[in-house]
């Protein structure tokens, strides 16, 4: 049988077997029919995200639609028979499931998309890169640092993929001038995906896993855009510095000077200027969240309105929005909501003896597991699967107060999901770097594994510091 067929059959088989098993076999006292369906759905989603028989966004949509058909108060008639009887469980609200498509973090991301799209359309990104790279001079090591810092800063507001593509395009003429055997070529190419992956951690809109984390964290306590940056930004800077030293060490340049010459100038006219101002004001409003009373999700919709009304984002541009990314996140939120609202999350936690486990062991295991998953599958899909479990566990785990408690646990796992960058398949930025043909998988693994593991350790240190100074 073909590989593709197996990948399709395994999730389906597991799904149907889990649905058909007698409820007692799960070993969770009091497990209801509805909760059993959630377990089956969770395994279906997990296997589909891991094996990818269908695109990952399609799995998300499947989760939402199956929840509506099998778990909601508007579900198919056969799935509702027995509702209200003992052991059936609580059905989810269909409106609630559908609302995941427009959950506040989705709106936050939509705002981010609009900003990024307008910036790219009016070449704000490339022109900023040109200006910001200049102070780094021509020393190869410093140019490398500049490249990483700028990639990281951009990927905080644009997608990691788009940032990587832009920076690699900027880099192409420089790489062409370098000697074919100069290891710095490898260093330069790798600096971009490494910078993008690390930079994505910096803001709530930097990368989709952050959005999912924000969803679960907001159930525990409010965390503003600025607060996220306050502890994530130092982490990004320190890890970036370490990654830079590692790249200089692994791939030292034999060149004395490297010149990055990007042509172009800032666009003028009322539309580009509107983009510049809206970009600046939106970021300012995000960072100053506490002062004006609007939360970051509300602020995110300001550029959406401004760019639509001014025609900066046209009807055609609207069609190029990555709905797949938004829906991928929606599905994750719906899966988490299913787990929590049916009561399955609470039951799982009570069925597993967490009290006997050392919380640090649980935390470190969860981080390593997440890092491993993120190296082999989509960062967002990893977060979709791991975060709801962590959110359920976080409440039951005591003894992590020195690391920020439940919020600390969620952040640690979220950061881990962004640190998967050892292989070309780990994330689209890595795939782009490998597509240049200048780096081998071994090179990428060397820097990716180092940065990943150092990043995990640094996460724990930063959480401790953040908790110590009272940020969490």
């Amino acid at each position: 049988m073909s590989k593709k067929l197996w990948k399709t059959l395994i999730p389906l088989l597991v799904f149907f077997i889990l649905l058909a098993l007698p409820v007692e076999w799960f070993g969770m006292p009091g497990l209801t029919v509805v909760e059993q369906r959630v377990i089956a759905l969770f395994f279906l989603a997990a296997l589909c995200w891991i094996l990818e028989p269908i695109p990952i966004f399609a799995t998300s949509l499947l989760v939402i639609v199956l929840e509506l058909i099998m778990l909601s108060d508007k579900s198919f008639i056969l799935f509702k028979s027995g509702a209200g009887t003992e052991g059936f469980g609580t059905l989810l609200s269909a409106t609630g499931i559908m609302a995941t498509f427009a959950s506040p973090v989705i709106m936050l991301f939509l705002g981010g998309f609009f900003l990024a799209m307008a910036a790219t359309k009016f070449r704000l990104d490339i022109n900023l890169a040109r200006v910001l790279l200049r102070p780094f001079g021509s020393n190869p090591n410093l140019v490398l640092l500049g490249l990483m810092v700028i990639t990281a800063v951009f990927s905080m507001f644009m997608s990691n993929t788009a940032t990587t593509a832009m920076m690699l395009a900027i880099l192409a003429p420089v790489l062409a001038c370098l000697d074919k055997d100069d290891p710095a070529r490898i260093g330069f190419v790798l600096a971009v995906p490494v910078g993008a992956n690390i930079g994505g951690i910096g803001t709530p809109i930097g990368t989709p896993p952050n959005a999912i984390a924000l969803k679960y964290i907001s159930d525990l306590q409010t965390i503003s855009f600025g607060e996220w940056m306050l502890f994530a930004l130092p982490f990004v800077l320190v890890l970036l510095f370490i990654a830079w030293r590692l790249l200089c060490f692994f791939f030292p340049s034999s060149q004395k000077s490297v010149v990055l010459d990007i042509k172009g100038r800032f666009m003028r006219g009322w539309r580009p200027v509107t983009v510049y101002i809206t970009f600046g004001v939106t970021i300012l409003l995000w960072v100053l969240g506490g002062l004006h009373g609007m939360d970051s999700n509300v602020v995110a919709l300001i550029p959406v309105a401004v760019f639509s009304c001014t025609g900066i984002i046209s009807k055609e541009d609207l069609k190029t929005i990555s709905w797949d990314v938004l829906w991928l996140v929606s599905g994750g939120i719906a899966l988490g909501a299913g787990l929590e609202q049916t009561g399955l999350a609470a039951r799982m936690v009570s069925a597993i003896p967490f009290a006997s486990l050392h919380p640090m062991v649980v935390l470190i295991f969860a981080m390593l597991m997440t890092l491993l998953m993120a190296n082999f599958m989509s960062h967002t899909a990893t977060a979709n699967l791991v975060l709801p479990l962590m959110a359920a566990m976080a409440g039951a785990l005591s003894g992590l107060e020195s690391l920020g408690g439940a919020v600390g646990l969620l952040l640690a796992v979220t950061f881990s999901a962004s640190l998967g960058m050892s292989l070309p398949i780990s994330a689209p930025p890595n795939a782009l770097a490998s597509a240049t043909g200048m780096v081998e998988t071994g090179h990428m693994a060397r820097i990716g594994v180092s940065v990943g593991l150092i990043g995990l350790a640094l996460t724990l240190v930063m959480l401790w510091v953040a908790n110590f100074v009272g940020l969490l």
Binding site: K121, T161, L168, A169, L432, S434, A435
Partner: protein
């Protein structure tokens, strides 16, 4: 990953064989179809369209018995079933009038002169397949080793 289709049309068997040989390196990503006349190719295109195959590229000679290359490519350019199809005219004997028609009516994407070099053909085909993948929305990272790096970086900008 779905394999793309490349259709090669030339009335001289040895030329056709040589084109296909030069394109053999794309075998992981594309299926090569050989036709010895425009009429044969027309029929093949019907079949491919009817079975929903992604026809990405046609490499076509101009002077052939029956319908000539430029006229054939012009019918394809007007055919709404192949909006993203890339068309390469591979010829050594086109007159200026033919060439003008090739640009204006057949809207060819590349004009390759015979005799061609294997490297040039490879680069051109890679470039055209890359643009086809993005234009048709079929691109996924599985094709990344096929796509010309500069096109990849260009077209991935502004993407999520």
């Amino acid at each position: 990953m779905e394999k793309l289709y490349i259709v090669c049309v030339d009335d001289q068997r040895e030329v056709l064989a040589s084109v296909v040989r030069d394109l053999n390196m794309f075998a992981d990503w594309a299926v090569m179809e050989e036709c010895e006349s425009a009429d044969e190719a027309e029929e093949l295109m019907e079949d491919l369209a009817a079975s929903d195959r992604p026809v990405a590229l046609i490499v076509c000679d101009h002077i052939m018995p029956g319908m000539n290359g430029v006229d054939f490519l012009a019918t394809l350019a007007a055919d709404q079933r192949f909006p993203h199809l890339k068309k390469i005219l591979l010829t050594g004997q086109a007159t200026q009038k033919d060439t003008i028609e090739a640009v204006n009516k057949a809207r060819i994407d590349y004009y390759l002169e015979k005799p061609w070099s294997a490297k040039e053909l490879e680069d051109v085909v890679r470039l055209q397949l890359s643009h086809y993948l993005f234009d048709s929305g079929r691109f996924s990272m599985e094709y990344r080793a096929l796509v010309t790096p500069s096109v990849l970086m260009e077209r991935m900008q502004g993407r999520e």
